[in-house]
């Protein structure tokens, strides 16, 4: 049984990278606007459907379809922030959370009206092959997902730490008012970051639909796991989100195989409970918790 450990860790890492991808896009939005987008799972699904529609509907090849889908989701995220979240930005956290959730619900309802009666096999841009590494099996999907997430992480890291945009993000995260005072167009910036988050969601949707057939609920499972990964990493930390995702992915496989598969769907809940009871600020977060 122990001989399967490397396989479980490798598969768990691949699954975790998928969770990390969702967590990354939510982290980008959170870093910029301090809003957790509970509707992100639906943006993921919408992104996957957009690729499908541009691809099969308009007959475009995969890559142009994906580029168009990313652009469309960027516009949707931008518009959602501009017209729906910006007007209530001064309100309580709860209103923002509910708004994000409701936007997602509306999106999902729309997808359901159109495609709710069927499960769609999306087109694959590459064939699925399996490679042996010793006695560990790795699939093309695993490789593509891991590479994409690491590339995205690197790109986002450069964007946030090296470029001037990163300073803008950091400034608005620390104090929106201060940022506005030094001449940053905070609302425009927020809208752009929402667009960016939604566009990343489209990428996540494409990755997910390589693995699972298309239904309007495509993003729901990973949304929860992504949220859990984000929590583990400490909200707002990019590396933490990825580490949290991988931790979840591997725990899920080990718990599932060595203990029981009935624990797989609650790993995303059990791990954050254990971690947060021991470390209320998450594994990589700064202490923001309150103690009185």
């Amino acid at each position: 049984m122990l001989s399967l450990l490397p396989q479980l860790v490798v598969s768990g890492t691949a699954t975790g990278m998928l969770y990390a991808l969702i967590a990354l896009s939510m982290t980008v939005v959170y870093r910029a606007t301090t809003v957790v987008n509970f509707g992100h799972g639906d943006m993921v699904a919408a992104g996957a459907y957009a690729v499908f529609v541009f691809g099969l509907g308009f007959g475009l090849p995969f890559l142009p379809a994906m580029v168009l889908a990313i652009a469309l989701l960027f516009a949707a995220g931008f518009a959602a922030q501009r017209f729906l979240l910006q007007p209530i930005v001064g309100g309580p956290h709860l209103s923002l959370a509910m708004m994000a959730l409701a936007i997602g619900y509306t999106l999902r309802g729309g997808l359901r009206l159109q495609w709710g009666t069927e499960t769609i096999n999306p087109q694959r841009p590459y064939d699925m092959d399996a490679y042996m590494l010793g006695n560990v099996v790795i699939t093309t999907d695993d490789l593509v997902i891991c590479t994409s997430v690491l590339l995205l992480l690197a790109a986002l890291f450069v964007l946030l730490q090296v470029t001037p945009l990163g300073k803008v993000i950091q400034a608005t995260f620390q104090s929106q008012r201060g940022a506005a005072l030094v001449g940053i167009n905070v609302p425009m910036f927020h809208a752009l970051m929402w667009g960016g988050g939604a566009a990343l969601g489209a990428v996540g949707g494409v990755m997910l639909s390589m693995i699972a057939p298309l239904t309007p609920d495509l993003g729901q499972w990973t949304l929860i796991q992504g949220f859990a990964a984000m929590t583990l990493g400490g909200f707002g930390s990019l590396g933490g989100a990825v580490a949290g995702g991988i931790l979840l992915g591997i725990t899920e496989k080990l718990l599932g195989f060595y203990v029981s598969t009935v624990f797989i769907d609650v790993t995303g809940y059990l791990v954050p409970i254990v971690v947060l009871m021991l470390r209320p600020q998450g594994l990589f977060g700064r202490r923001v918790a309150l103690r009185v």
Partner: protein, 399 residues
């Protein structure tokens, strides 16, 4: 004091026995009102073809002039596969829309929740949900014109065990009533035929991976897997089994469309003689008498009711028998049907061929599930969709 009297009067009225629906509710001289209950919203909405299939048939019958001069009028109601919402939807159909009967209802949980009310109000039900407890033991007016989990579960297990030497069976299940409806009965069959359940794995709806499940199945030494899971997870599980080259045969439940599952594997070599499903129909879809129904779906359903991609899936066909036997019972019940005479007429059906299902419909006062015999469908060694009676025993015309 007067106030207290008013309150007491109110309570007296509350205690009064409620009026029962009359036995011709929903029937006028020109129409018969049918309630079509289904998960039109929520994650289970992929099952709504079970609602649209019978609707297409009723529209077809209407165009033929209806039954005894009456045309069918359908009222749709959305239950989202949620008990509380389903009860509201069923009550709306019964008390607001005043339908004659309720049809389709793919969600077992909702069906179980509304059953006491249906029996109490005397509202007939012919549904597609898998839970066998709905129609066994029999209740007045409650019928299954299609296979329940007992028939399908047995068919899954029987086909798997018809492969010589197969006794070690593994399970892959969702944790919901639908999955139990199939797998519990498959397990009963396996155990009563000297088989053994060597692994029981949970694979939840929405999961993106099944590594742990596949490896547990491999470690258990199972020869066959009963997969009581929906289409997305079935595809995921099959991919994992392929990835690890695990040599088991896989029996899907009726929650997936065979052709769509096969299409998810551009090179279907791995699935040949390995992936099977219980098969409800008397021939391959699109051939023989089933062709006629395909034409009915395409002609009478709107663009929104049909799949956006590809031909009507097997759920459309599986939904139809409910409507066929309903119409037949109305024909037999004569020009002045009541709920009682309709039920009597339905119970008089013997060896009635729907032109759809593998078995003929036979009902009686003690037997409210019309069909029993099922086939299995799989890919032949050459990769052709083939209908089997048992392992290696293909229907002659199906290859």
């Amino acid at each position: 004091m007067r106030f207290r009297h008013a309150i007491m009067a109110l309570f007296a009225m509350a205690v009064a026995v409620p009026a029962y629906a009359d036995s011709t509710q929903g029937i006028t001289d020109t129409t018969i009102k049918i309630g079509n209950l289904g998960p039109f919203s929520g994650p289970q909405s992929t099952f709504t073809p079970l609602n649209y299939g019978p609707e297409a048939y009723l529209r077809y019958i209407n165009e033929q002039g209806g039954v005894h001069g009456r045309k069918f009028v359908t009222v749709f109601a959305d239950d989202s596969c949620n008990e509380a919402k389903g009860i509201a939807a069923a009550k709306k159909l019964i008390f607001d829309d005043k339908v004659f009967m309720i049809m389709s209802n793919p969600c077992s949980g909702v069906a179980m929740a509304i059953k006491p009310m249906l029996v109490q109000e005397g509202v007939p039900w012919i549904g597609a949900s898998a839970n066998p407890k709905i129609s066994r033991p029999t209740s007045p007016g409650i019928f299954h014109a299609t296979y329940t989990g007992i028939e399908s579960g047995r068919a899954m297990a029987a086909f798997a065990m018809s492969k010589p030497g197969t006794t070690k069976i593994a399970l892959a299940m969702h944790s919901d009533d639908w999955a139990h409806g199939y797998c519990d009965n498959a397990v009963d069959y396996v155990k009563s035929h000297n088989g053994e359940i060597v692994a029981n794995t949970a694979l939840e709806h929405g999961a993106t991976d099944a590594t742990a499940q596949a490896l547990q199945i491999k470690a258990s030494g199972a020869q066959a897997v009963m997969a009581c899971i929906y289409q997305p997870e079935l595809i995921i599980l099959l991919r994992e089994l392929q990835k690890f080259q695990i040599n088991v045969i896989v029996l899907g439940a009726l929650g997936a469309d065979f052709n769509q599952v096969v299409q998810a594997f551009p090179n279907n070599e791995f699935l040949r003689q390995r992936f099977f499903q219980p098969y409800q129909f008397k021939a391959k879809i699109g051939t023989s008498t089933l062709k006629q129904y395909q034409d009915i779906f395409l002609k009478y359903l709107t663009k929104d009711e049909l799949p956006k991609v590809g031909p009507p899936t097997n759920f459309y066909y599986f939904g139809v028998p409910a409507a066929i036997v309903t119409v037949e019972a109305f024909r037999r019940a004569g020009p002045n049907p009541t709920r009682e005479s309709w039920q009597k007429a339905l119970e008089s059906l013997k060896d009635f061929d729907t032109g759809v299902l593998a078995d003929t419909e036979t009902f009686s006062a003690e037997k409210h599930v019309g069909v029993e015999k099922m086939y299995a469908v799989g890919l032949s060694p050459k990769g052709q969709e083939t209908v089997y009676k048992a392992w290696g025993d293909a229907l002659p015309e199906s290859e």
